[in-house]
Every structure is written in structure tokens, then in C-alpha cells.
């Protein structure tokens, strides 16, 4: 069995975890809210991306002779559309819900969030949106090359996921570390009151926070939809809890921790499935890893004391 192949597959899986979980950890960092509805944003992102893809593709076909090229172009148009819609959706979730529940008992935010998640899923399942069936998202590798080495092979779709993830992480890194509002975000996640006192408009920062995080979740939805060639209304179910495992594992609110935790989890899952076989379902593995880690390091991998 090829260890290198499993590792490279695991890194792709990790990329999808990273994109979903970063938004969650960013929200937790500032608001201390468990944003379950984030998984709804993820599914909506996939839905919007697919919708845009199917809408745009016929327009690309007449100009581009090659159907493959048309599909690739349609994908690269659908991805930013899905990301922007998801970002706006996330910002609205804050402005319409958490802004009012923040500062009250965390249970209220959590309950509102779970309710919203269910609402999004039920809406997506309506026949005029996604309907009850899985829909294919046949964008393939969107023009990415296939990478073959003697030890492992990376499919074009996998290259696409790795590539988009790296670019998005770089953008988020620059925004958070090299811009004024990014500095404000860091301050607000450490001490929102004090950040406000030095003039950081905390509302702006939080809206940005939701926008960026939800944008990443939307991108994750699109990429996973293409990877599995499947978009469906309940695709947020597993991420809704697995992303929390990642976030807690990484140390609540820590972006680098989330990245490390995603990799740890994806690699563990892959190798447990590969070596321990039918011992336990893979989602149980995630929680097992979490429990083991929290026993020895209660604040997560890179959490603050």
C-alpha cells in the first residue's frame, strides 16, 4: 500500500477541512459563538457555485469550441460568485442574528445557530432550489494538470483543491497580518472592549470576519462539490460537527492551530481507515483523536492558555 498516496490524498482532505474550519475559528475568536450555521453557508456555497456553473456553461460553449474549456471557464466564474454570495450570507447572519444574541447567554446564540442551520438545509431541499437529490458538479480539474510521480499521483481535481486552498490561505494571511483592519481583527479577538477603546470599529471587524470566513466556507462547498461531483442539501451535516472537532483540536480561535489540526485529523482518519480497517467509522475517529488530545492538552494544539 502506498503511504505516499495516502498522504497526498490526506492533504487534499485536510485542505477542505481547513477552508471550512477557519471561518468557524475566526468567528469563535471574536464572538465566542459556536457558529453551527456555518455548515449551512458551506452547503449554500456549493449550491450557488453549482447554480452559477450550470447557468454560465451554456454561454461559454458557443465561444469556446472545446467543451472542456467551456466547463473550466464556467468553473472559474462560478467559484468567485459562490464565495461572494457565501460571504454576504455570513455577514448577514451576523447582522441579523448574532449581533442581537451576542453578549447574552451563549446558549441563545447556539440555539439560534442550530435553528438557522436546519432552516437553510430545509430550504435547500425545496424542489425550486436543490431538491432532495444529489446534483453533479462536473467541473473536473478545471484545467489543472495531473501530477504523477513514481510514489503517488494527484488528480487534476486534487491539484485544484490544493491550489485554491493555498491561494485563499495566502490572501487571508495578508489581510489578517498586513492590513490595518486585520490588525484590528487580531486586537478584537484578543480583547474586543480594549480594541474598541483604541478606535477599532468592532462591528466592522466582525462583519469582515464573517465575510471572510463564510467566503472560505463557500469555496470549500464548491471544491468539495466538485471533488465528490455531488452537491446536496444535507452536505453540511458532517462538516457541522467535524469542523468543530478541528476548531477545538486546534485551540479555539487559533487560525494556525486550525490548519495544523486539519492536517492531523485528515492524516489520522486516512491512515486509520487504511490500517485499522473496519474498527470504527471515520467520524468516530475524529472524536477519538479529539478526546485523546484534550486529555493531554486541554487547550488544543495551538490554543492560548
Amino acid at each position: 500500500m502506498s503511504i505516499a498516496q495516502n498522504l497526498s490524498n490526506a492533504m487534499v482532505l485536510a485542505s477542505t477541512y481547513i477552508l471550512i474550519a477557519i471561518g468557524l475559528t475566526m468567528v469563535y475568536g471574536v464572538l465566542k459563538v459556536l457558529h453551527v450555521a456555518h455548515a449551512g453557508v458551506y452547503a449554500s456555497g456549493a449550491f450557488v457555485g453549482l447554480g452559477a456553473f450550470n447557468f454560465v456553461r451554456p454561454f461559454c460553449t458557443p465561444t469556446l469550441e472545446d467543451a472542456r474549456l467551456a466547463s473550466n471557464l464556467a468553473f472559474w466564474i462560478s467559484l468567485p460568485i459562490a464565495m461572494i454570495v457565501s460571504g454576504v450570507m455570513g455577514a448577514l447572519i451576523y447582522l441579523l442574528i448574532y449581533r442581537y444574541t451576542w453578549g447574552k447567554s451563549p446558549t441563545i446564540s447556539l440555539v439560534a445557530s442550530v435553528g438557522l442551520f436546519t432552516l437553510i438545509q430545509d430550504l435547500l431541499q425545496k424542489p425550486f432550489l436543490l431538491g432532495p437529490r444529489q446534483q453533479p458538479y462536473p467541473a473536473g480539474g478545471a484545467g489543472m494538470p495531473r501530477i504523477e510521480t513514481p510514489w503517488f499521483m494527484i488528480t487534476p481535481t486534487q491539484v485544484l483543491i490544493l491550489f485554491v486552498t493555498l491561494i485563499l490561505l495566502a490572501i487571508v494571511y495578508v489581510i489578517l497580518n498586513r492590513t490595518r483592519i486585520g490588525l484590528g481583527w487580531q486586537a478584537a479577538s484578543l480583547d474586543p472592549e480594549m480594541a474598541a477603546a483604541v478606535g477599532v470599529n468592532v462591528t466592522h471587524v466582525i462583519v469582515l470576519n464573517f465575510f471572510l470566513g463564510s467566503m472560505l466556507a463557500g469555496a470549500a462547498g464548491v471544491l468539495v462539490g466538485v471533488y465528490d461531483n455531488m452537491v446536496f442539501s444535507t452536505m453540511g451535516d458532517v462538516p457541522s460537527y467535524k469542523a468543530f472537532v478541528v476548531v477545538v483540536l486546534g485551540g479555539l480561535g487559533s487560525v494556525p492551530g486550525t490548519i495544523v489540526a486539519s492536517i492531523v485529523l485528515a492524516v489520522t482518519e486516512t491512515f486509520m481507515v487504511a490500517f485499522a480497517g473496519s474498527l470504527m467509522p471515520r467520524d468516530a475517529i475524529a472524536f477519538l483523536v479529539l478526546i485523546l488530545l484534550l486529555m493531554f492538552r486541554p487547550r488544543g494544539l495551538l490554543g492560548r492558555a
Binding site: 500500500m1 498516496q5 495516502n6 431541499q125 465528490d228 480497517g277 467509522p281
Partner: protein
């Protein structure tokens, strides 16, 4: 902002209501045989009932929400189609059929409470499960205790019919279908080494059991076996292992969503072994999602789209006409459940005893999409041919029909 907190709680409340609906109405098992129902079986068969009587209510449940909603919708649509065709042709000896339908959300507990509702509030005369094995197993005892016939359309777990003498099956029992799978792998594909992948639920485990039991007899060597969870999206680590084991055939149980993911990832990873599936793959969705990767996949199933039988073709065209999509195995089975129940009520009347008697007397029944149905065994399993299909040119086509009683008799 007190207003908003209120709203949040309202949302939460709504969620609770939605997720619990219909509210379970616990009935102590001792009370379950409804006193009002008790006298009915003693009545004489009502075949002579005047045609002017009100509609005959039959119960139906399937998952219309949740991850298996697509199958539930297919089953429900097909059942409705069957009812419509029957009523257009004059109903049951003049009385129209009425389908009372509930959503079980794919959850066993909800199926059980839906069953009680059908019996107690809706007073149906018999019921059909358009649900998966888990929910069907939960509903069967409720109908059995209430003394009411239930037909399982496509749930194939062996325990379902073992619940009691009121529970009948339409679909091919898992043991039989597993057996046919092994037969196909050994005889048609002439394979020796088999890897088995099992979806970890009632459906998958019972199929694998049937396959393994017969595999030994036909000289197959099982060189690899692993389970996976419902909804699995990443088969890559397992595929790496299967590649290393190098089998001739992969016998993989699952539904079309997992199956399309599996065959696509297997293709990506360069796995050469033939993949053999079962009726869970049997949906246009499988071909739609897996695309070209589905080509050449062989499955065992109940629905033979190339069948020359009139009713099969009628079902396929009428379904397409009514719902503007291609029918699947799940729908065909639900359609047949209504057809068989209607036949039983026409010949035996609408009492439980009458229906059971008629079902036991069923012979070479051809008014169905997945037939012909030869007869019911003493264990209320259908003796019927089992089809196998291969994906060719983006559609399921007949691969081989299995009629050998040694293999197909439950």
C-alpha cells in the same frame, strides 16, 4: 433587544417541532392490538361489498426529508402512479384506492410512530413500507401487533418478514440477492479473488452475509473485507488497500450516492477490478453522478429495464410522463407493492385475513414492473427472477436474468 431573543427561541422551538413531527404517540405494547380492530378479522370476507362504498385507505411511508429523501420521493411518486392507474381502471371492485402517506425521515423511531398514526388515526386497511430496512424493521412489529398487513417494497433485511405472519416482502431478500451476486461473480465473470466492501447498516450487512454464504459454495476466495459508513465520501484509503490486494472483483454494497463516489474514486486511482453492486445502485442518479465512471459496472437488481413485460414498460413510460424523470428500482418496487396489494384486495377483500389468503394464493403475477412474481413462500418471501444489469452507453441494460430456483428461492 428582548424581541430578538424571543425570535431566537421561536426559531429553536420551530426546529424542535419540525424534528419531532409527527409527535410519537407512545402506545404500550400490551394495548397495541386495537380493540376496535379486533372484531374485523372475524368478519366474513367483504368481496361482495357494494361498489358504492367509500375509498379504501392504504397506508404508505417513506423518507421525504433527510439524506435518503430522493429514494423516498421516488417510492412515493411510484406508489401514487400505481394508485392512479388502478383508480382509472375502476379501483378495487369499484371502490377507489386512497393512499395515506407520511414522511419517516429515514428514522426508525419516526417510522414506528407513523405506523401507529396510520393504524389509529387514519384507520387504513393495510400498509406499504416505501422505506429503508432500518425504519421498515421498526414499523413492522407495530403493524403485526395491530393485526394489519404490511408489504415491504424494497427493504430487504431478513428480519423484516420474520416479525410475523402479517408482514410480506416485494423486493428480493438480501440473502438471495447476495447469493445471486456470488453466482454472477463466479459463473458469469469467472472470477476467483473477491474484495468485499460493506456499507455498515442493515442493508449492507445482510447482503454481504448472503454473498459470503454462497461464495464458499461456488469457490470464490474472499481476500479483502472492509466496512464503511453510510454517506462515506472518501474511499481513497480503502481503494489503495484494495489495489494492493489485487482482486478480480470488488463486491461493494451501498446506495447510488456512495456507489457513484466509489466507482469514480476507483477509476481515478486506477483500480482495474470489476465492480459488482446491487439494487442500491439502481437509480438514474448513479449514472448521472458517476458519469463515464459508471460504464461497465454490473449490479443485481429487481428492475429489468429491457424487460418485454407489458407492465414493466408501462411503468417506465408512465413514470417518465408523470414526473419527467427516469424511474428507478425503488420506485418500481413501491409501484409493485401497490399492484400486489390491490390484487390481493380485489380477490380476497379488504380484511387482513382476506388479504393474507390472497397473497398466499398469488401465482405467476405479471401485473407488475419487476416481475413476474411466481409465488410467496411460507416465510412470505416472493419467489421471483433476479435480474442483473450492466451500465452501457449511460444506461442500465440487461446483463443476465437469474431464474435457477436453486439460487433464487428464498
Amino acid at each position: 433587544m428582548k424581541k430578538f431573543a424571543m425570535l431566537a427561541w421561536l426559531v429553536a422551538l420551530a426546529v424542535l417541532v419540525v424534528s419531532c413531527a409527527p409527535a410519537p404517540t407512545p402506545v404500550p405494547p400490551t394495548k397495541a392490538p386495537e380493540p376496535t380492530k379486533a372484531p374485523e378479522p372475524t368478519k366474513a370476507p367483504e368481496a361482495t361489498k357494494p361498489p358504492s362504498a367509500g375509498p379504501i385507505k392504504i397506508g404508505f411511508f417513506s423518507p421525504l426529508t433527510g439524506p435518503t429523501a430522493a429514494d423516498g420521493q421516488s417510492a412515493f411518486n411510484s406508489a401514487k402512479l400505481a394508485v392512479k392507474l388502478i383508480n382509472d381502471a375502476g379501483g378495487i371492485n369499484g371502490a377507489p384506492l386512497q393512499l395515506i402517506n407520511y414522511d419517516d425521515a429515514g428514522k426508525p423511531d419516526q417510522a414506528a410512530s407513523v405506523a401507529r398514526k396510520l393504524i389509529e388515526s387514519d384507520k387504513v386497511v393495510a400498509a406499504i413500507s416505501g422505506a429503508y430496512s432500518g425504519p421498515t424493521r421498526a414499523a413492522a412489529p407495530v403493524f403485526q401487533q395491530a393485526g394489519m398487513v404490511m408489504l415491504s417494497a424494497y427493504a430487504i433485511h431478513p428480519e423484516i418478514t420474520k416479525v410475523g405472519d402479517k408482514i410480506f416482502r416485494i423486493g428480493t431478500l438480501a440473502d438471495v440477492q447476495g447469493k445471486v451476486g456470488a453466482e454472477l461473480v463466479a459463473k458469469n465473470l469467472k472470477a476467483k479473488k473477491v474484495a468485499i466492501l460493506t456499507i455498515d447498516n442493515d442493508y449492507g450487512v445482510s447482503l454481504t452475509a448472503g454473498f459470503k454464504a454462497h461464495a464458499l459454495k461456488v469457490g470464490l476466495e474472499i481476500i479483502f473485507e472492509q466496512k464503511y459508513s453510510f454517506g462515506e465520501k472518501d474511499f481513497r484509503p480503502i481503494i489503495e488497500k484494495i489495489k494492493a490486494a489485487n482482486p478480480d472483483v470488488v463486491y461493494a454494497t451501498g446506495y447510488y450516492a456512495e456507489a457513484s463516489t466509489l466507482v469514480s474514486q476507483a477509476k481515478d486511482a486506477g483500480l482495474k477490478a470489476q465492480i459488482v453492486g446491487q439494487e442500491g445502485y439502481d437509480s438514474p442518479q448513479f449514472i448521472k453522478l458517476a458519469g463515464a465512471n459508471s460504464e461497465g459496472v454490473i449490479i443485481t437488481t429487481d428492475l429489468n429495464r429491457d424487460s418485454k413485460e407489458a407492465m414493466t414498460q408501462k411503468f417506465l413510460t408512465e413514470y417518465k410522463k408523470a414526473y419527467n424523470e427516469d424511474a428507478d428500482m425503488v420506485g418500481a418496487s413501491a409501484f409493485d407493492a401497490v399492484q400486489v396489494l390491490a390484487y390481493a384486495m380485489k380477490t380476497g377483500g379488504t380484511t387482513t385475513d382476506g388479504i393474507i389468503k390472497a397473497l398466499k394464493g398469488l401465482k405467476d403475477f405479471k401485473d407488475c414492473a419487476t416481475g413476474p412474481f411466481l409465488r410467496y413462500t411460507a416465510d412470505r418471501e416472493l419467489v421471483r427472477p433476479v435480474s442483473s444489469q450492466i451500465v452501457k452507453g449511460g444506461a442500465f441494460h440487461l446483463y443476465q436474468e437469474f431464474t435457477d430456483p436453486a439460487v433464487t428461492t428464498p
